[in-house]
Structure formats: structure tokens, C-alpha cells
């Protein structure tokens, strides 16, 4: 894909069903804008997301991947997001170690009441990924055509 002025990154957002997805809903019903290039995938808990989900998203063409869950301490299943936090911390550190641009991955805790935060998070994340350009280092060439 040629990078032009109008190039828009593809963003995959894994959102926990109980907080962040509801936060996205609230952002929508409050008419807060966030880019349409954000593809939301609803997951039962941020803990459901394993590193393969993240890599798979990049493989299939995502330029940035963000994981949103309940604030630590507020997990619907009480502790899921604590485990997710450790996993993502290690995974992101590994991706940095491999030389993947660090702006392409992010975790943000967004509650059901934080429609504004959701929209702001997405806007800032999309902007950051846009600045980085298309994902080359973690993409599968076969998915490019």
C-alpha cells in the first residue's frame, strides 16, 4: 500500500466486554468521534487476549494493535486484567527487543463510563501509528496483495 497524505492505518482494538466495549458504546452514543479505521474486537476479558492474537492481527494487516480492559482492580472476573497486564508487559518488551516500532502496541484501561477517554485514546493512538507509517516488520507478505 503506498503511503500517501491520505494513508489511514488499520487499527485493531481488543476491547473487554464489560468496560472498554461499553466505553466505546458510550463514546458512540455521546457522538464522540474516533477514526473509522479502528476495528474493535470484543473479548470477554482483556485476559482472553493472548500474544498470538496481537501477532495475528499484525500478520493479517494491522498497523497498530491496542488492548483495552477494565481498570486494574475493576475486572469483572476480579483479576483477569492483572494477568493480562503481565502478559502484555512482557510481550511489548519482546516486540521492542525485536525492533518493532514501540508505538504500534498499547494497552489502555478504559471503564464503561469513560467514553471520552476511549475516543481520546483511539485518536491519539491512530495519530501515533499514522506517523509511523504502514507496518512492515510484523506483516505477512502474502496478505499484502
Amino acid at each position: 500500500m503506498p503511503v500517501t497524505e491520505n494513508w489511514k492505518p488499520t487499527i485493531v482494538a481488543f476491547c473487554c466486554n464489560w468496560c472498554s466495549y461499553a466505553g466505546a458504546d458510550l463514546a458512540g452514543s455521546s457522538r464522540l468521534a474516533y477514526p473509522a479505521d479502528v476495528k474493535i474486537i470484543k473479548v470477554p476479558c482483556s485476559c482472553r487476549v493472548n500474544p498470538m492474537f496481537i501477532l495475528r492481527a499484525f500478520e493479517k494487516g494491522a498497523d497498530g494493535v491496542i488492548l483495552c480492559g477494565c481498570h486494574p482492580g475493576d475486572c469483572h472476573y476480579s483479576t483477569g486484567n492483572y494477568y493480562a497486564r503481565r502478559r502484555m508487559t512482557l510481550l511489548f518488551s519482546m516486540l521492542d527487543y525485536l525492533g518493532v516500532e514501540d508505538g504500534r502496541t498499547r494497552v489502555e484501561w478504559v471503564s464503561a463510563a469513560e467514553g471520552v477517554k476511549f475516543s481520546e485514546t483511539m485518536n491519539s493512538f491512530v495519530e501515533k501509528v499514522r506517523a509511523l507509517g504502514p507496518n512492515v516488520r510484523l506483516g505477512d507478505l502474502r496478505c499484502k496483495n
Partner: protein
């Protein structure tokens, strides 16, 4: 017979590469494998054995056969085209050249594998005699002379000079193209180099393995041997032996969903993997012993039975060097030699 100074080889590579793709041993991250020549490639013709054989060039580890797109409920098949441009492979050793003959028996038998056939037709093989055979080499057992390999052009690296002898029409055509870089040479140096190589080969520890217990007759005789049960145990069921082997040709055909189409590709497979023979209703080889046995029986008994006695092993010794558990075909041959059946 022609010659070129070793120091001038980069010119030779560049000259060949200007006209066609050139594959040759290239060092990447401290390991030498066949790769495409580029100006910045770290060409390494001194390493005796590339980790993977040159089989990759004619039968790639992974190649797309066709793409299927679905449009309005209809499938359209986009077939991968055959190779149409000529290419040169430089620096193949005698064992790997013979391995191509083994692969030919499989892929060029009816019905012909057209992708392989196209590459065979387009490829010119420049082989390289082995100056310093290794302990694990046993090509002699299969009647291969690493001092004088087969190939379209045969070369010898003697000291600082590469000697060049075209053997076929393809080889002569290539020689003509690079003639300006070559000078005439007499054969004396090469003859003495050959003698020196053959003298080393005689001293190799595996040079006199006996294949007496193998061949077509072994298909029945060796199958039920108790030796298999004794030998297979350290096998980790990885595919290292298969993937470094120049003659292993089993493949899998798989799908990859790119989102916009399905790519059907074939890739190397290994009879060492448990899912190799796995079907919906079960597996006909349930133990690693059976899988282990299949690999060696195929190479040393079934293949010769179907191909006028030709073994599906060329004695390159890669499996000997690379098996994580130090299991290999030499140990199998020796075990049968010692114990009978």
C-alpha cells in the same frame, strides 16, 4: 579446461548474475546456505556443506501452486506460472548434484511435476569438487566421486585458482557467456588435486559402509527387524534430518487464507512428524518407531526397489552432522551390517 583466479570470482558472479539469477553458497548470520547472488552477498564457497542442500532451488521449501478467489459465490483459480527465466546454480557439491538425479526419479516420473521440470530445464548446474571432505561424508558408498562431480560445468578450487570444465551443452553455453573471464588451462593441476581428494576419501571413517543388507530385497527382510525398536528411542521426532536432506522429497499441500484469497501452497514435510499420516479416522503409523523405520526403509529399500537399485541417499552426511540426538542413516546401516537382521 579453463581457469580463473579465485580473487576474480566476484567478477564471474557479477557477469553471470547480469544475465540470469545466480544461486550460490551465501553466508548469513554465520551459516552458509544457497542464496541468490547480490553485490552485497557474503559468498562462501569454502564451506564444504551448506546447511540446507541445493534442493531448495529446484524444490523450494514452500511454493505457491495457485490462488483461489471467491467472487459472487464463484471460485476463480489463479495458477502459479512456471519458471521461464534461466538461472545458474554455482558451487553444488557432488553429492547434491547426484541428489538431483534422485529427485528427478520422483518428480520427472509420470505424471511429471511441471514446476520442478521447469526449474530443471531452466537451471544450469556448476558443481564444485570437494577439496576437504568431512568425517561425516560417505558419498563414495553410493558411487559418487566428489573429486569429479557431475554437473553442466564442473569446477575445482585448487589453491588460489578455480578450474572450470564444461560437460554439457548447457555448460558450454554458460562457458561461452563468461569466456572473457576465463583463460585456458591444462589439466595437470586438476588431476593431482583429484588424486589428493580421492586419497582423503579413502581415509574417511564411513567410506566403506556396506550396503549389502539393503536394496530392493530389504523391503521385506528388514521391516520386522528388532533393531528398529532398539534404535529409534532417542529420536525427538523433529524434522531436521528431513529438511537438511538433499533427497527427501515428501511434501504437504496446505492452504493459507490471506483474507482476500486462499493460497494453496506446497511445503516440505517430514515422515518424522506424527501428523504426516494422520487421517480423520486415525493414523496408520502410531509410534515414532514406525515413523523412524519408514524414513530409512524408504531411502534404503523401497526407493531402490522402485528405481532400479538407486538409493535415496547420497551420503552427504548432513543428517549425521545435524541430528540433535546423533541418530542417523550411518548408524542404521551399521546396525544392520553388524547384527544381520
Amino acid at each position: 579446461m579453463y581457469k580463473i583466479q579465485k580473487a576474480d570470482l566476484p567478477k564471474l558472479y557479477a557477469s553471470i548474475a547480469a544475465e540470469s539469477d545466480l544461486f550460490l553458497p551465501v553466508k548469513v548470520a554465520d551459516q552458509t546456505n544457497f542464496g541468490l547472488y547480490t553485490e552485497t552477498a557474503d559468498v562462501d564457497i569454502d564451506t564444504l556443506k551448506t546447511v540446507k542442500s541445493a534442493k531448495d532451488i529446484f524444490f523450494p521449501q514452500s511454493e505457491t501452486l495457485y490462488k483461489v478467489r471467491r467472487e459472487n459465490d464463484n471460485f476463480s483459480i489463479d495458477v502459479e506460472q512456471h519458471r521461464t527465466s534461466p538461472f545458474v546454480v554455482f558451487g553444488i557439491r557432488g553429492c547434491d548434484v547426484r541428489a538431483m538425479t534422485v529427485l528427478d526419479k520422483v518428480f520427472l516420473s509420470e505424471p511429471i511435476d511441471s514446476y520442478y521440470a521447469a526449474r530443471r530445464q531452466m537451471g544450469t548446474i556448476v558443481s564444485l569438487a570437494c577439496g576437504r571432505p568431512d568425517t561425516s561424508c560417505f558419498c563414495k558408498v553410493f558411487g559418487i566421486d566428489c573429486a569429479e562431480p557431475e554437473g553442466d560445468v564442473v569446477t575445482w578450487l585448487v589453491g588460489k585458482v578455480l578450474y572450470w570444465q564444461p560437460k554439457t551443452k548447457k555448460g558450454e553455453a554458460l562457458t561461452e557467456k563468461v569466456a572473457s573471464l576465463l583463460e585456458k588451462a591444462d589439466e595437470a593441476m586438476v588431476e593431482s588435486a583429484k588424486n589428493a581428494i580421492r586419497a582423503i576419501v579413502k581415509k574417511l571413517p564411513y567410506a566403506n559402509l556396506s550396503l549389502e543388507k539393503w536394496g530392493a530385497a530389504a523391503a521385506d527382510a528388514n521391516f520386522d527387524s528388532k533393531l528398529w525398536e532398539e534404535m529409534y528411542k532417542p529420536c525427538l521426532a523433529c524434522g531436521t534430518c528431513t529438511f537438511v536432506c538433499p533427497t527427501c522429497q515428501c511434501y504437504d499441500i496446505k492452504d493459507y487464507d490471506t483474507g482476500s484469497s486462499v493460497q494453496r501452497y506446497r511445503c516440505w514435510d517430514s515422515c518424522m512428524y506424527s501428523d504426516f499420516t494422520m487421517m480423520a479416522h486415525g493414523n496408520n503409523r502410531t509410534s515414532q518407531m514406525q515413523r523412524f523405520r519408514q524414513r530409512f526403509m524408504h531411502k534404503l529399500a523401497y526407493f531402490p526397489a522402485n528405481n532400479q537399485g538407486m538409493f535415496s541417499c547420497v551420503g552427504c552426511g548432513r543428517c549425521v552432522d545435524k541430528c540433535p540426538s546423533h541418530l542417523n542413516i550411518v548408524k542404521v546401516i551399521k546396525a544392520f551390517e553388524k547384527e544381520g537382521v
